[in-house]
């Protein structure tokens, strides 16, 4: 699952997560001295790790609640063309000019896990998939902002059936050309508005927005919508994700 990151990204990512960890620790020490946590737990308040454990356990609990709240038949609201946000904001763990440039000639989508037909897909084969649909939906970022955009492609559920995926499996995982990875639950993968998209704003997906392929999930937060997908797998083992492993809630449904 874990791949070697590019040198620059690795150094950048490492120093940032270290700073965040130190920041977090400093805060906890300061916060604990206020005795706020003592009110609740009554246990060893200096043991910040136990507080972290409770928070992670609550996040897993929230995964279960969201899975229960999620209505497979409920559609995300769709909007008219006039509501589209221009320009559409770019967001990733790197800056816009660092977006990966995927070679369309050599591109192959790799499939693995609980899938019957594991033959890799080329871009022309993916572009030929039918039926093609469009949606204009609200993309909501975990940071709080939202933007309305138009994506076009095929129903992900159609694709999963086409490749003979085990639809009773728990998870679908994604690996991306920018070393990003994430995973989603099967009910969301089968939602009618979950699209495997190749076009954004009626044009071939531009590099910053996920060329050659982005999974658009209007029932999940933005970071659960992987861009530049190069491999996907179906599994029953919890796959986690780039942000999820750092503390962002895994289900992150909307």
């Amino acid at each position: 699952m874990k791949r070697l990151f590019g040198m620059r990204q690795s150094l950048k990512g490492q120093s940032r997560s270290q700073i965040e960890r130190i920041e977090r620790r400093l805060f906890l020490r300061r916060g604990l001295s206020l005795g706020a946590v003592a009110l609740l737990s009554g246990c060893d308040v200096t043991d910040a790790e136990s507080v972290q454990k409770v928070l992670w356990a609550m996040s897993r609990w929230n995964d279960r609640v969201q899975d229960w709240i999620f209505d497979p038949g409920r559609l995300a609201p769709e909007f008219p063309e006039s509501a589209i946000t221009m320009p559409f904001p770019f967001n990733a763990f790197y800056s816009m000019d660092q977006a990966p440039s995927v070679d369309p000639e050599g591109y192959q989508l790799e499939l693995s896990g609980l899938v019957r037909e594991k033959k890799p897909w080329t871009l022309p084969e993916l572009y030929a998939l039918q039926p093609q649909l469009s949606q204009i939906t609200r993309h909501i970022c975990v940071e709080g902002w939202s933007a309305i955009g138009k994506w076009s492609g095929v129903r992900f559920s159609d694709f999963l059936r086409r490749i003979g995926a085990d639809l009773t499996a728990k998870y679908v995982g994604f690996k991306c050309a920018d070393r990003y990875w994430t995973s989603i639950d099967m009910p969301t993968a089968l939602h009618p508005q979950t699209l495997l998209t190749f076009r954004f704003a009626d044009q071939i997906l531009p590099a910053p927005f996920g060329f050659p392929m982005k999974l658009r999930i209007p029932t999940k937060l933005g970071f659960k919508n992987p861009k530049h997908i190069v491999a996907m797998f179906v599994t029953n083992d919890y796959p986690g994700g780039y942000w999820e492993d750092q503390g962002y809630n895994w289900f992150s449904g909307s």
Binding site: F27, L39, L40, S59, A76, V142, S146, N249
Partner: protein, 217 residues
């Protein structure tokens, strides 16, 4: 306070002021709201609605993911405690007896009196009109916070509810202003407790001394 001077031990006695359920849920709410506000400010800072950010030292969580973990953990504590408090308040008649009736004119009169330092609160069992308005307001603000929070958390699943407050983007503003109103309430509430300090221990013990004249109320 002034009125304490005419109270002598012989002429006063202790009475029940706050029921146990109210005291317990009050302190759980304090703790949960503290976490919700401090982590909420860190979440706000990730994408501010207005041209300012909250100072990092006043926030909880260290970074966005940490703040979200605190916020979505403490929300269960607040929801559970709040639900017990509101259910108890309605079912037991606590709200009916303590917060009603409430007349806007009387509330304004008492608020004005409070600003002049002329508002008395001799019998802690009976809330004046300003208190009734403030406590009822705080409960309503809490409900608005929870409902707008639900829309922000699950804008698709609770879309119908979201339409009442301008969908996802509208709910961000509703949630923010309800937070601001609640923080204002808390500040006023704490200032009033500092001005009438004998109300403070009653939120632990539940009991307070009242003048003998108030007997039989």
């Amino acid at each position: 306070m002034k009125e304490g001077g005419r109270m002598t031990p012989e002429r006063s006695h202790t009475v029940q002021v706050h029921p146990l359920v109210v005291r317990i849920t009050h302190w759980i709410n304090v703790f949960a709201i503290l976490i919700m506000v401090a982590s909420g400010w860190r979440i706000y800072n990730a994408s501010p609605l207005f041209g300012f950010k909250f100072p990092g030292d006043w926030t909880l969580g260290g970074w966005l993911a940490g703040a979200l973990q605190w916020h979505f953990a403490a929300m269960w504590l607040l929801a559970a405690s709040g639900l017990v408090y509101v259910t108890y308040g309605i079912v037991s008649g606590h709200y009916r007896h303590k917060l009603l009736p409430i007349a806007p004119a009387a509330a304004w009169r008492d608020i004005a009196a409070a600003f002049r330092g002329k508002l008395t609160h001799d019998d802690l069992r009976v809330y004046n009109a300003a208190q009734r308005a403030a406590y009822l307001g705080a409960i309503l603000i809490g409900i608005v916070l929870v409902l707008s929070g639900l829309v922000l958390w699950k804008p698709v699943q609770f879309h119908t509810l979201g339409l009442l407050m301008g969908d996802y983007e509208g709910a961000r503003y509703v949630h923010f202003f309800a937070m601001a109103a609640l923080v204002l309430f808390v500040i006023v509430h704490v200032v009033m407790v500092l001005l009438v300090p004998r109300t403070f221990p009653t939120m632990f013990t539940g009991r307070a001394r009242v003048p003998a004249a108030a007997e039989g109320d």
